[in-house]
């Protein structure tokens, strides 16, 4: 072998050798994971506290951590949790209220981290023609909401705040999609819900729509939950999801305007307006001690109102699995241990 051919062959051999030698070290774990992405199914409610999951999906952050996330969107966190518990998804984002209700019934899922919270989003929309102008006017009215959900709990707090017990009103439960039409049709006098259903009701009722709200009364926090079998079998995937959400949090912090624009595009401008000022929307992956207080408050409410048939509170210490977030963002774990 001689001449230019020999030189080319030598160069090719050197390049191949370099690739063989460099590839194991030069290829990062993320790149390796991209080569064979791990499939994960995520049940995602279309609500602002779960915006980090939406952003991560849109920005391709899940793919960057080696995941191939199949996102199924749901109108509420309760539906998303139900879908996960039904085995349709591995993980879900959901508010604490559905979590607490489910925790009374089953012990096959765990809370991994809070992913965002918002206050002021939940509203009570009433029909002016039914004589409702202010919260006190709700007494004796037929008020609808989604049972065993965050809006249900919010309505409970809203009524208490205004000196109205649940016995003082006629509380009925509907599917969330039906609420605006039910109000417009007069089947109910008011309903407690969030965007985009509040805006839908405004549209339907026009000037007759009365929107009542109490910002700061309740912080709606969505949590990332996962089935225990998933956590047992694929803990790394759960950590990867948390890692992607952490990157989404960083991205949202760096470019808040862009983040809000995306949320508005997905959930509607009204949804975002409800979270105005921006401080009302807090997109952060964390596990803090208030989680237990929130869960126990909801649990006490559920037991006292007999929404659940139980006398003992679930073991929320067992419900929270902090090790995944501890492995990814230890500084984000502030629960008392």
């Amino acid at each position: 072998m001689s001449g230019p051919g020999a030189i080319e062959a030598a160069l090719l051999g050197a390049m191949l050798a370099a690739l063989v030698l460099v590839a194991p070290q030069g290829c990062s774990r993320e790149e390796a994971e991209r080569i064979s992405p791990e499939p994960v199914r995520l049940a995602l409610p279309l609500q602002t506290p779960s915006a980090l999951a939406m952003l991560a999906a849109e920005e391709g952050l899940f793919e960057r951590v080696g995941l191939s996330v199949e996102v199924t969107e749901h109108v509420s966190g309760k539906r998303a949790l139900a879908a996960m518990l039904a085995g349709e998804a591995d993980l879900a984002t959901v508010a604490e209220v559905p979590i607490v209700f489910s925790s009374f019934e089953r012990d096959d899922f765990r809370i991994l981290a809070g992913v965002g919270s918002v206050t002021g989003e939940h509203r009570v929309v009433a029909h002016r023609s039914r004589g409702i102008e202010q919260p006190a006017d709700l007494r004796g009215k037929r008020i609808a909401t989604q049972r065993a959900s965050a809006v249900h709990f919010y309505l409970h707090l809203f009524l208490i705040k205004h000196g109205i017990s649940e016995e003082d009103v006629e509380l009925v439960f509907h599917d969330v999609e039906e609420l605006p039409e039910a109000l417009a049709a007069g089947r109910i006098d008011a309903f407690c819900m969030r965007e985009p259903f509040v805006s839908r009701a405004r549209e339907l009722l026009g000037p007759d729509a009365v929107v009542l709200g109490e910002p700061g009364l309740y912080f709606h926090t969505d949590y990332l939950v996962a089935r225990t079998d998933f956590l047992r079998e694929r803990p790394e995937a759960a950590r990867a999801v948390l890692r992607a959400l952490g990157r989404a949090e960083e991205a949202a912090g760096r470019r808040p305007g862009r983040t809000r624009a995306r949320i508005a595009r997905r959930l509607g401008a009204e949804a975002l307006r409800a979270a105005d000022p921006p401080a009302r929307l807090r997109l952060k992956v964390s596990l803090d001690q208030s989680l237990y207080s929130s869960l126990e408050a909801v649990a006490r409410w559920a037991m006292e109102t007999r929404l659940v048939d139980a006398d003992e509170m679930p073991d929320f210490l067992e419900l929270v699995q902090a090790d995944c977030l501890d492995a990814v963002q230890p500084q984000a774990v502030t629960i008392i241990r």
């Binding site: 001690q289 237990y292 207080s293 126990e296 006490r300 509170m313 073991d315 929320f316 210490l317 008392i336 241990r337």
Partner: protein, 652 residues
């Protein structure tokens, strides 16, 4: 201290100070880190106490089992954290002890309250006293919890203050050390800079002063460092410069003298070159080897040999030995070797073969040159053209040989002629005498006169022939030289002349005469002729007085000689005739006044010459004459050989 040492110290000083700063900083940081760690742990304890406080509230508010479990868990972890705390200061240790004690009381109170809550849950309903006690217990628990928060906060504050204090101390210390380092380096730099600049200024001033011509100026720098050495060097330079300047005139004189010497040398060399070029011969210097390798030979060799001098230098083209006639080479080598051995000049004549093939005679004279150790170095000498002289000598030898041959033929002729003339002459005399005796009467008087003249003429001719025979026999019939007693020989001659002595009434005085080596016959003839002349040429009326004497000269160049003197008081002669009076047939007086053949003195001179001597005379007219014969007392082998040759040839 030397500047280099100062610079080394100055360069090491920052390093040492930097090391000190580093050590101090490390120690300070270690203390700060330890304090910060304690502060951090104290803050963790504060947080833990706060968290316990929260959980306490939580427990008291809702009697939450979850809160109690969390409390127990957090209490345990807090105690573990506190166990790692170690405060050096007593007040902090005291606070820590109080915190431990408070936590223990809190744990005890919470446990008691939990028991109460459990009993209450198992048996709902309580009396007022139990409710009051539970409320009091809860209040104490909260109060203790609050107190612990304050205590922990104090502990944390103390830790932070301590850490801040240590940090300040460390910062101040480091700043002070860095400042000290900077000051030390600056001071050292300034000191060295000041020293160097001051010294340099002095040196510059000194150089300028020196430049103005003040060679007496000296620097006074006694720092003992490089500047001091530089000043010493400067002063040495000034002294040297002064010395150099002082000796400049002398140097100029030396240079001028050197130049004159150089010119003389050049003139001398020119003269030498001219001498070598014009000397009638080739001057050489050669090695004493078989080739006579020339180290130098003048251009005149080209005239001698036809070969340029450069051919012979170091045998480039040919050796000098190669042009020496092969037959003469041993002769030359022998002569040179003898000169080398005797350390005397050598001289030799030999032939060289010229470039055109002809031979030429040369005369070489030289001398071997030796070094101080006696080693032979080279040969110096000159070679001269003697070809013409050699030819002249040869011609002379040829002419001499021809002359000798001619003389021998002439002598032979004279001898033969004289000898052969004897017989007819004798018959003329005999028949003349018979005619005179027997026929005189028959002749007229004129006839008798004629007859008498003829007889007399025959008689003279006989004498003449005898003398000629004697003259020729000097060389042809000479006898070998033998010791001859001149005194005895003279006595014998006087005896033979006794009649004439008496007839002339002469007086002959003979002194002591030596014995010499000579031909006795010829010596007899010599003395007899001289005495006969003394008795013959006498003055009228004056009785002849003849003195014979001799003296020996031991210092004569040719060896010891005898001067034989015959002095008379006769008629004498004019010294003008001295040159010819010893020639044959030369007579100073008419035959009528004094008889003789004119051959006697010629015979004497020939005898003297044969003996290697000579004859001369001094005289004045009327005052007598003195004849001096100088003869060698002894003869060399060559002379004896010649004498024998004469005798042998005579024998032929």
């Amino acid at each position: 201290m030397r500047i280099a040492t100062k610079l080394r110290v100055m360069s090491l000083l920052p390093i040492a100070l930097a090391l000190l700063v580093a050590l101090v900083t490390m120690e300070a940081f270690r203390r700060v880190r330890a304090s910060a760690r304690r502060s951090r742990m104290a803050n963790q304890a504060v947080i833990g106490v706060f968290e316990l406080n929260i959980l306490t509230y939580d427990f008291l508010q809702y009697r939450s089992e979850r809160a109690r479990r969390q409390w127990q868990q957090r209490h345990g972890s807090l105690l573990s954290d506190l166990a790692e705390l170690d405060y050096p200061r007593p007040e902090s240790r005291e606070r820590l002890a109080e915190l431990h004690e408070g936590l223990a009381e809190l744990h005890e109170g919470l446990g008691e309250l939990a028991v109460i809550f459990e009993e209450l849950a198992a048996h709902p309903g309580e009396d007022d006293l139990a409710h009051e006690y539970r409320t009091m217990l809860a209040g104490q628990l909260l109060a203790k919890s609050h107190a612990l928060v304050s205590l922990a906060a104090q502990l944390g504050a103390q830790g932070e203050a301590r850490a801040a204090h240590l940090q300040n101390q460390a910062a101040i210390l480091i700043v002070a050390l860095v400042f000290a380092l900077a000051v030390a380096v600056a001071a050292a730099s300034l000191h060295i800079g000041h020293t160097v600049i001051r010294g340099m200024a002095r040196l510059r001033q000194g150089a300028e002063t020196l430049g103005t011509g003040d060679l007496e100026h000296r620097l006074k720098v006694e720092t003992g460092d490089e500047l001091g050495e530089l000043a010493d060097a400067f002063n040495r330079m000034a002294r040297n410069l002064q010395a150099i300047t002082a000796s400049r005139d002398e140097l100029d004189r030396e240079v001028a003298e050197h130049q004159r010497t150089l010119r003389r040398l050049e003139a001398s060399e020119e003269r030498f070159r001219s001498l070598v070029a014009n000397i009638p011969g080739a001057v050489y210097r050669c090695a004493c080897d078989e080739q006579w390798t020339m180290q130098f030979i003048s251009d005149a060799i080209e005239e001698l040999s036809g070969y340029p001098a450069s051919d012979f230098l170091h045998n480039r083209v040919r050796s000098y030995s190669s042009i020496i006639h092969p037959e003469d080479r041993p002769l030359v080598a022998e002569a040179v070797q003898e000169g080398v051995t005797t350390r005397e000049p050598y001289a030799v004549e030999y032939r060289i073969v010229m470039a055109d093939g002809h031979e030429r005679w040369v005369y070489e004279k030289g001398r071997a040159v030796f070094d101080q150790e006696g080693g032979l170095q080279w040969l110096d000498g000159a070679i001269f053209d003697v070809n013409e002289r050699k030819e002249a000598e040869q011609n002379l030898r040829d002419a001499l040989a021809e002359l000798e041959r001619s003389n021998r033929e002439l002598e032979q002729f004279a001898y033969v002629a004289s000898h052969d003339l004897q017989e007819p002459l004798r018959k003329i005399r005999v028949f003349g005498e018979r005619l005179e005796t027997k026929c005189a009467d028959a002749l007229p008087a004129k006839g008798r006169d004629y007859l008498q003249r003829m007889v007399n003429a025959a008689e003279r001719m006989s004498e003449l022939i005898d003398d000629l025979l004697a003259l020729s026999r000097v060389t042809t019939r000479g006898e070998p030289f033998v010791p001859v007693d001149l005194e005895r020989l003279t006595a014998e001659v006087l005896a033979d002349l006794e009649a004439r002595i008496e007839q002339a009434d002469a007086r002959v005085e003979v002194n002591s005469l030596p014995t010499i080596e000579a031909d006795p016959t010829q010596m007899r003839q010599l003395i007899q002729n001289l005495l006969s002349n003394a008795l013959k040429f006498t003055r009228q009326g004056v009785p002849p007085v003849v003195k014979v004497s001799a003296e020996l000269d031991h210092d004569a160049p040719a060896g010891e000689v005898c001067r034989l003197t015959v002095q008379d008081n006769g008629i004498g002669f004019d010294k003008r005739h001295l040159d010819r009076m010893f020639d044959v047939f030369q007579r100073l007086h008419p035959r009528g006044e004094y008889d003789g053949t004119g051959i006697g003195l010629a015979l004497c001179r020939k005898i003297a010459l044969r003996h290697g001597g000579r004859i001369t005379a001094t005289s004045r007219p009327g005052e007598g004459s003195t004849f001096i014969v100088t003869l060698p007392v002894r003869h060399t082998g060559e002379r004896r050989k010649d004498a024998r040759s004469d005798h042998d040839s005579d024998g032929r």
